[in-house]
Subunit: 375 residues, 2 copies
């Protein structure tokens, strides 16, 4: 992976970026994942931050495959990738790339998904798409495996029948991992969300720019502003997604609309304010919840402690609550600051604070969990 | 000021810390502020971040004074401070320090205020206190000059009658600077606040630690954790104030209680989640508002454009909204992301995003505006 666009010299980024695939120990290690009865898979956008995390998660979870294609744009074609002791050459993505591919994991931006997703489906591939291209398409399931697995139960890989499945937006996934178990108990009527979003959501280049800018500012130099049109180091700013005529930006509207679709509840009310903070790869979210039915904070805490993919970090005495740093490179979403909302009468309101790795559960892990359900 | 505890070598901190008093131009400059008919003033905690900003703001605003005492703990006594071309020696704070002092500006922590505030009042001094010691005392006005000047109209300096006036918490000031003009028009019933708070709220040493930690992390070293018991660089965390039995931390409860007192409205409902972000000296707040009466976003924007001490930065097309960096060292609080809340029916809900300099309007400027009303 020496030719990756992400600077591997950087201590900071190497600490925050996807872990490299697990070192193997030569001939004594039995590889369970590369095997004849696994699906043929393809990773689209394999040189990006999420693409790299796809590989890392596939390996971590011993995802079975009989073959894997490394696909990217023409610019990246020809690079070499070592994955689970095997050498691969990155191939240029074309419609024909999907011949014989059972499952394709896409993370190369919405326009690539729109162009090549349907082509893959035509060839019988099940596409798990990390972009926003198909999320709100009524015919495409939008899935968080812990939340709404039933939405994709009719889809399986290797049947020769292609399909699209959309991975939700990272902020939505992280929020709903914690909100859903509470919603199931007491029904959420309204959520007010404020996010603290990491650089990684804008890709590896944004993480590099945050690091570069921070070095520059510390040295008294003007910060380089290529990805974001402003100083990000020691600053926060309203999410860079385009702002719509209703004043919400696209990132915020994803939370509003995707929540309704994933919960299959067109009446749930959501507002969000999405802000970028100078953090590398994990998002945080402050979430105020209003329920139809009573739910006290102790019950909520117990529910969250038993929720799959969720850890509770909520030690008031030690002032120990989730932080983005401690969930970085972790699978679980962490929840804390669980408390009765003083601004709502009765006990039908809670405030909670959630952190989750944006690249992992917010993108690659969720997609591969979806892929696992296809087997 | 060469002996200040804050490292003046640091480009980063010098950029973010209080501006030094304006350079004077020698004998041709007429100093209006040092004059016989001004009050005798004292600055308590003069070597701290807010104490230094007191001096900067006094000078910027040509605050009149016939004398000024520089007071601090024994540890800082004997240091020299040059202020408006005059040499001062920092004196150790004692009860007797206030003999003949008309106005004392306190920013040395709650315990110092509790010990020396009443002593100063006994000597006929009007104390403007930046700590939380007296804020919720029914007999002590809690004042934001643009919001509730009437609360202190019975207090004047130089009458020989001492009094206490409390400066609200920084997060409360910044929030209410924007929320009050809207409250006056449509009556706020409920506010849901999430903060993005700067290092400066924990003092100059916290700002230094953030800078130091950032350098260390960039160099691959473990971060120095003296002020905060965790990594702050490239991370965010729940505010370090102690957490109470209701699960709110003290910073959050200040917003809840101080809002009620300042608005003289015991029914207003407030919830807050206070989070520190790696920013030097300006806070940001995401605020969701619920009103009794209708208020559309265009009217709200016009109201805020005309509000004293508030600037509106709300360019949706250019994705230009307030950031902490651009309000640093500025007097005005900036508001943007003004939009109808999609999660509330009718037009009785708004989301807004506010940024304000924590040391300036959040502390020193507000205190000196209070002092100006005493003249």
């Amino acid at each position: 992976m020496a030719s990756l666009s992400v600077s591997r010299h950087s201590h900071l980024l190497s600490g925050f970026l996807p872990a490299r695939p697990k070192p193997t120990s030569g001939p004594t290690r039995v590889r369970m994942s590369l095997r004849d009865d696994g699906p043929a898979i393809a990773v689209v956008g394999v040189t990006g931050a999420v693409g790299q995390e796809f590989l890392s998660v596939l390996s971590d979870r011993d995802f079975p495959y009989r073959s894997i294609k490394m696909l990217a744009s023409q610019r990246s074609a020809g690079r070499r990738i070592v994955f689970e002791d095997m050498d691969y050459v990155v191939e240029e993505l074309t419609a024909d790339s999907f011949d014989g591919v059972d499952i394709a994991l896409f993370s190369a931006g919405g326009s690539i998904s729109k162009k090549f997703g349907p082509a893959a489906v035509d060839r019988g591939t099940v596409v798990v798409d990390n972009s926003s291209a198909f999320r709100m398409d009524e015919k495409v399931p939008l899935v968080i495996p812990e939340v709404n697995p039933e939405a994709m139960q009719h889809i399986k890989a290797g049947t020769g029948k292609g399909a699209l499945i959309a991975n939700p937006n990272c902020s939505t996934i992280i929020c709903l991992m914690a909100a859903t178990p509470l919603h199931r108990r007491a029904k959420v009527l309204r959520m007010v969300v404020s996010t603290y979003q990491a650089a990684s959501g804008a890709g590896a280049a944004a993480m590099e720019e945050l690091e570069l800018q921070t070095r520059e500012v510390l040295e008294g130099k003007p910060p380089t502003c290529k990805i974001f049109n402003r100083q990000y180091a020691f600053n926060i700013f309203s999410h860079n997604a385009p702002v719509l005529s209703n004043g919400y930006n696209e990132e915020e509207m994803k939370m509003v609309k995707e929540t309704r679709k994933i919960w299959n509840d067109k009446d749930v009310k959501v507002t969000a304010t999405c802000i970028r903070v100078p953090v590398m790869r994990a998002h945080a979210e402050s979430v105020n919840l209003q329920f139809e039915n009573p739910l006290d904070e102790n019950t909520a805490r117990d529910i969250l402690k038993n929720a799959p993919g969720v850890v509770v970090i909520d030690d008031r005495e030690a002032n120990s609550f989730p932080t983005p740093l401690e969930v970085s490179n972790k699978d679980d979403v962490a929840v804390g600051r669980i408390r009765q909302d003083l601004s709502q009468d009765g006990n039908q309101g809670l405030d909670i604070f959630i952190c989750g790795d944006q690249i992992r559960k917010g993108a690659a892990l969720n997609a591969i969990q979806i892929a696992e359900m296809l087997l």
